[in-house]
Subunit: 249 residues, 2 copies
Amino acid sequence: MNIQVIACINEARSDDLQHKTVIVIDVLRATSTMLTALAGGCRTLVPVETVSQAKSLQSPGTLLGGERSCKKIPGFDFGNSPLEYTPEAVSGKTLIMTTTNGTRAIHKARKADHVLIGAFLNAGACARKAASLDQEIVLVCSGAQDVFSLEDGLCAGLLVHELLQLSGCDPDSPAAAQAVGDFGLAMLHAYRQVQDRLTEILLSCAGGRRLIKLGFRDDVTYCSQIDLLPLAPVVRAGKLEPEHASSSL
Amino acid sequence: MNIQVIACINEARSDDLQHKTVIVIDVLRATSTMLTALAGGCRTLVPVETVSQAKSLQSPGTLLGGERSCKKIPGFDFGNSPLEYTPEAVSGKTLIMTTTNGTRAIHKARKADHVLIGAFLNAGACARKAASLDQEIVLVCSGAQDVFSLEDGLCAGLLVHELLQLSGCDPDSPAAAQAVGDFGLAMLHAYRQVQDRLTEILLSCAGGRRLIKLGFRDDVTYCSQIDLLPLAPVVRAGKLEPEHASSSL
């Protein structure tokens, strides 16, 4: 097994992701929100890069969600808070979403053979799905404003841990060091150091502090939960559908 | 106290380092080797970027040291193994050194107010010196081949830990999270996770494996020792001299 972790979206190059399985991670909050919407019964989720793309896809029966600068976009049905995406609001609906980093990262991964959506909320299911595809795996941390975000790095560390265990590789072995590479190892070690106080760590990192200031403390706490949502959606033809995920579990 | 960690040399921009105290880290092996030479009595150490610069500075009584692709440069007196730089070989001498990443990182930091040389070997002394200068501190991990190196990141994590403690800031506090930034925090957590088995970790990371293959296992073991050399040399007018360091301790 070969696992690479990319520190933030502007370090990922589309061509390098060809023939690989990519897991896009944007814990605060894009991938956590997408998972919540899909778990809540959203039928199809379409991640797009720009606000105008989102608006051009609007039709009766579709909902628009997303953010710019962590805030809801004018005219959209939802912002980027996972707690807005209740089953009552999204069940059976098609949802068009655009966020600053998460949907950009998904677009950047378009040349990969498989693109999965990862967060703490679905780490176990996501790792199992990725391992089952039997390819080189690249974890793309979205980051924020083109710099590394701790929450995404720690989630990558958890995924590395799960992937190594699934492949029967002791995370402390020299074989693991070789399979994961130096940056992935750093994230693995960091995750293991703070795994028992993830919520506290996420509340104090840059992204958590920004969200608390904007009134979204509960989002941060929610997004720090591991394996709450056992689904592993895959992007197919630009869309996320929950059934593809559950069929593989 | 404000502490920033830069993941590798190509992410550092000279202009961003102005008015700051920079600690250049290249654990395997440039900064470890420079510290060893200075501790061994080398009078003046001149880090230069290119082989031709090194040769142009050669004169009777000077020694040339350095590497390209981890190997000694033809015509040079020493390679980049710290174990070559014994007191017998370097005491009282002027040493011109060029390495692939470490000396490049020093050059990149030229606009900083103060440039210090950091490694596990001198972490405590280096942190004390940096803290005493009372400026914003930037830790520049040299990395290898323009990517992050685990050993440099872990050394940055140790330095962050020491710097926080020197400033009376609990490394687990929200204040520490704010002072250090997300990437520095990740390195701090990773370091604390593996601090009791640093030698093993350094032997298994990419840089360690490369050096073992080339016959330098003992170098890796040597460079993983914390606080063996209590000196904190500062680059002044392009040169490193040990007395500047010891006078501040």
